[in-house]
Subunit: 440 residues, 2 copies
C-alpha cells in the first residue's frame, strides 16, 4: 500500500532517522492526469513544462505570495480565480526555467497565452491557472513554451513523479506527497501534492510553488478554509532565510470524483478528516523544502509553548527561526541559548523574562518539557524560569544533542496555553557560498 | 586641529577610500575625565573597567534596547534616569567581560553595587549610570569588579582612547569620535563619543554600548530630542544581522562647562548646530560598528528614495539591509537586483512595481539617480520604472562596481519625496565561521 520515495534518498538531510515519514500512498486522485515536456527553457535540458488536467470540473482555491511585487502568472491566476468564482477549473500549466516576473505587459500577454493555449489543447472549459518559476526579469521564449505545452498535453498520464520533476529549479530532489483518507460514508478520497523550492534561497529563481489535486468532493468555502489552515501550519511555518519570492503560489483543485458525500461545511467530522489530510500533505511537502535547503546540515524544529495566543507563539517562533545567530549556532552545534533568548526578547511580543524556560532536544521536540521526565540523551534543559541551569559538563551534553541532524529548540513562555511549531535549517558556509557565487 | 585615529587602520574595511572621514578633533569636552583598569574579567587581561566622571553635574539622556529581555544594568540605569529626572549625574561605570544579563536578583544587586561604589569613590552626587557587556547568564565576579572600580577611579585622566578600549569585547578596533562645533555666541562646544559593538553578531556578548559626553550647556528636553534624532539616523539605521541584544544602551551626558548660552529649546539655530554635531558623532560611530562586523568585506549603503514617508523608506531600507540573499550577493559581487526587488516587495510597505527604479553604485550612493548624468564607472542603472534595463555587458559592469569595498544600493520608489539611508555589510563565509564556531 505504501512505497518509499526514492528521491528522498539523494539528499543528505533526507537520509536521517525521519526518512520513514516520507512514504506515500500509491492511491492517486481519480480523474487527474499530468503531462510534461522539456522545451528548452532549462539549459540542462531537463523537463520544464507541466500540465495538469482533470476530467471533471474542479472547485479551486489558492494562496499567493504577499510580496507587493508579483509576477504576471500570479496576477493572472488570482484574477482567473476571482473571475470564475473558484469553480469550473479543469487545467493548470506550470513552467520552470523563467519566472515571468518584472516582465511588464509582454509578460502578462505571455501568461495569458500559456493559460489559453493549454486550456484549448486540453479542451478545458476555462482558462488554466498558470505558475512560473525561474530567473526574474527575462521574457519567456514563447516559441519554446508553446511547443512545450503542445507536447506536454500529448504526454498526459498518471506519473506524478514526472510532474514533480518538471517544476524543479535549484531543488536537489523532487517533492511529492500523496495521502488517502476514509470519510464517514466509507469513501476513500485521495490527495496528491507536488511542490518545488529549496528554501527561499533564490528569489531570483522565484521560489515556491505547490500544486495539490484531490478527488474529494468539497464545496468552495470548506476547500478555501482547509487550504488556508494547511498553509498556515506548513508553508507559512517554514523558514530558510526569511526572503519571500514574487511568485510563491499554493493551489488546490478538487474534482469530486471520489464520489463522497460532499463536504459542504467546515463543522463536519468529514471536513476535519479532509483538512487534516490536506494539512499533512502540505506539512510534509513544506518540510521537504527545508530539508532540501541549499547548504543545510540541520533540520531544526522550533517549538514555542506557554504563549498567550497562537499568533504570539508564531511570531516568536519566527523570530528564533530567522535569527542568523541562532542558525549559525545550530550549524556549529553550539549550545548558545543566549542567542535564542535574545531572539525571544526582540520579537516584539510581551514576555516575562523570569517565566521563560528553554530546552534543546534531538528529534522534533514535541513532548519535551511537558510533564514527563525527560532523558538527558533526548533533551537538555538550559533555562528554568529565566535562570540559567548550572551545567557542570552541560556544554558537552548540548553539543552531543546538537550533533544530531534533527534537533529541537523548545521555549516555554510560562504565560498561557498556546503553542506553535516552525521548521527551519541552519545557516552554513555552504549557504553563503551557494548564494554568493550563484551567478558567477 | 584634526588627527587621524590610528585604530582605524587595523581593520580591512577601515582601510578603504573613506578613511579620511575618520579623523577627529583633539578638542575634548571640558570637565570630563575617564579612568580604566584591567580587573581580570577578560581572559585576555585587557582592560575591562571604565569610569567616567564630570566635575559638574550633567543633564543626561539615554536610549535603551527594545528587547523585552533586559540586563540588570539596563533596568537599573533606566530607573536611575527616571528617579533623578535626567539631571544631576556626574559619573558612569562600564564593564566588559560580562553582560550581567539573565542573572536575577543577584545581578541587580551587583549592578547597584557598581553604581553606588563608583559614585562614592568619585564623590558623585548621585549613583552612576551602569553598563555591562560580555557573556550572558553568568554572575560578575564582584571582587574583581570592585577592585577594578577602585583602581579605575585612581587612574582618571583625559585619554578617551583608553576608555574606548576598555569597553571592547569582540571588537577588532576601538571606536572613538570627537567633534567640536561653534555656536552663535562664538563658544565652541565639544563632543566625545565612544562605542563598542562588532555588529549585532554576539547577543551573548551583549552587544552595543555608546557613551557620549559633551560640555555643551543643553537643557533636558532638547538633549533628549537631539539624542533621539541622532540614534534614529545612526544606531537604529545600521544592520549586521538583524539580531538585537539585551544590553544595548546609548547614553549622553552634558555638563555645560563650555559656557555657551544654554540651548533651551528645540527651535533655535544653536539646537540645530548641536543636534547636527551629535548626529554626526553617532553616525560615524555606528558606521564604525558596521565596518568592524565579523567577517564583513563590504560596507553597503542602502538608499531608498521617492517614498511616501520617511518611515516607509526606513522599513524598506531595513528589509533590503537584512536580506540574507542581498547580503550574500554583495559578498559575491553579484549584480543580482532581483533579490533587492524581492526585498522591497515583501517589506509590507505599499509600492507600485512599475514605478520602481534601481541602481548599484560605488561609494555611498547619495547622489545617484537624481538629475545629474551618472558616470557608468560610478553607478549602473538596473531597473527603470519597474522594467529591467537590457544589459549587453551589464553584468560585467555590475561586478566591477561591486568589487569596491564601499558600495551603494539605491532604490527610487517613484511615489513621493521621502528618503532614508541605512548602512549594512555583506554576509560572508567568515561571518558564519565566526558565529558557528565561536564557543567551540
Amino acid at each position: 500500500m505504501y512505497k518509499l520515495s526514492t528521491s528522498i534518498l539523494q539528499n543528505r538531510l533526507f537520509s536521517s532517522n525521519n526518512i520513514l515519514k516520507y512514504y506515500y500512498s500509491t492511491s492517486i486522485p481519480k480523474g487527474f492526469k499530468t503531462g510534461t515536456y522539456a522545451c528548452g527553457l532549462k539549459k540542462s535540458g531537463a523537463s520544464d513544462i507541466c500540465v495538469i488536467f482533470s476530467e471533471k470540473e474542479c472547485n479551486a482555491s489558492a494562496v499567493f505570495t504577499e510580496n507587493k511585487v508579483r509576477a504576471a502568472p500570479v496576477l493572472l491566476s488570482k484574477s482567473l480565480l476571482e473571475q470564475f468564482n473558484c469553480s469550473g477549473f479543469q487545467s493548470m500549466v506550470i513552467n520552470s526555467g523563467g519566472a515571468n516576473a518584472c516582465t511588464g505587459e509582454q509578460g502578462m500577454k505571455n501568461a495569458e497565452t500559456m493559460s489559453n493555449l493549454s486550456a484549448k489543447l486540453l479542451k478545458s472549459k476555462q482558462p488554466s491557472v498558470v505558475m512560473s518559476t525561474g530567473i526574474i526579469g527575462q521574457q519567456l521564449d514563447m516559441k519554446k513554451v508553446e511547443k512545450g505545452i503542445e507536447e506536454a498535453v500529448k504526454s498526459l498520464g498518471n506519473d506524478w513523479t514526472l510532474a514533480a520533476k518538471a517544476i524543479m529549479t535549484t531543488d536537489k530532489v523532487h517533492k511529492l506527497y500523496q495521502k488517502s483518507v476514509k470519510l464517514s460514508d466509507g469513501k476513500e478520497v485521495n490527495i496528491s501534492g507536488i511542490c518545488k523550492g529549496a528554501g527561499m534561497i533564490h528569489p531570483n529563481m522565484a521560489t515556491m510553488l505547490c500544486i495539490i489535486c484531490t478527488d474529494a468532493d468539497v464545496a468552495k468555502e470548506p476547500l478555501k478554509q482547509a487550504l488556508k489552515h494547511s498553509v498556515h501550519y506548513s508553508f507559512n511555518s517554514i523558514n530558510v532565510d526569511g526572503d519571500m519570492s514574487t511568485n510563491d503560489t499554493v493551489c488546490v483543485y478538487a474534482n469530486g470524483m471520489a464520489g463522497n458525500k460532499q463536504i459542504s461545511s467546515t463543522s463536519s467530522e468529514d471536513f476535519n478528516r479532509f483538512q487534516s489530510a490536506l494539512r499533512e500533505t502540505a506539512e510534509e511537502l513544506s518540510k521537504m523544502i527545508v530539508r532540501d535547503a541549499e547548504g543545510a546540515t540541520k533540520f531544526v524544529s522550533v517549538v514555542v509553548r506557554g504563549a498567550n495566543s497562537e499568533s504570539d507563539a508564531k511570531v516568536i517562533c519566527n523570530s528564533i527561526a530567522t535569527s542568523s545567530l541562532v542558525k549559525t549556532a545550530m550549524y556549529g552545534e553550539d549550545g548558545n541559548w543566549g542567542r535564542v533568548l535574545a531572539a525571544v526578547g526582540y520579537s516584539g511580543i510581551h514576555v516575562v523574562p523570569n517565566k521563560i524556560s528553554m530546552w534543546f532536544s534531538k528529534g522534533n521536540g514535541q513532548n519535551i518539557g511537558i510533564g514527563q521526565k525527560n532523558d538527558q540523551d533526548t533533551c537538555i534543559q538550559l533555562l528554568k524560569d529565566g535562570q540559567p541551569i548550572p551545567l557542570s559538563s552541560g556544554d558537552d551534553k548540548s553539543a552531543k544533542l546538537l550533533s544530531n541532524k534533527d534537533i529541537g529548540i523548545i521555549v516555554d513562555l510560562g504565560l498561557g496555553q498556546s503553542t506553535h511549531t516552525m521548521w527551519t535549517c541552519d545557516l552554513t558556509v555552504g549557504y553563503v557560498e551557494a548564494n554568493s557565487h550563484y551567478r558567477t
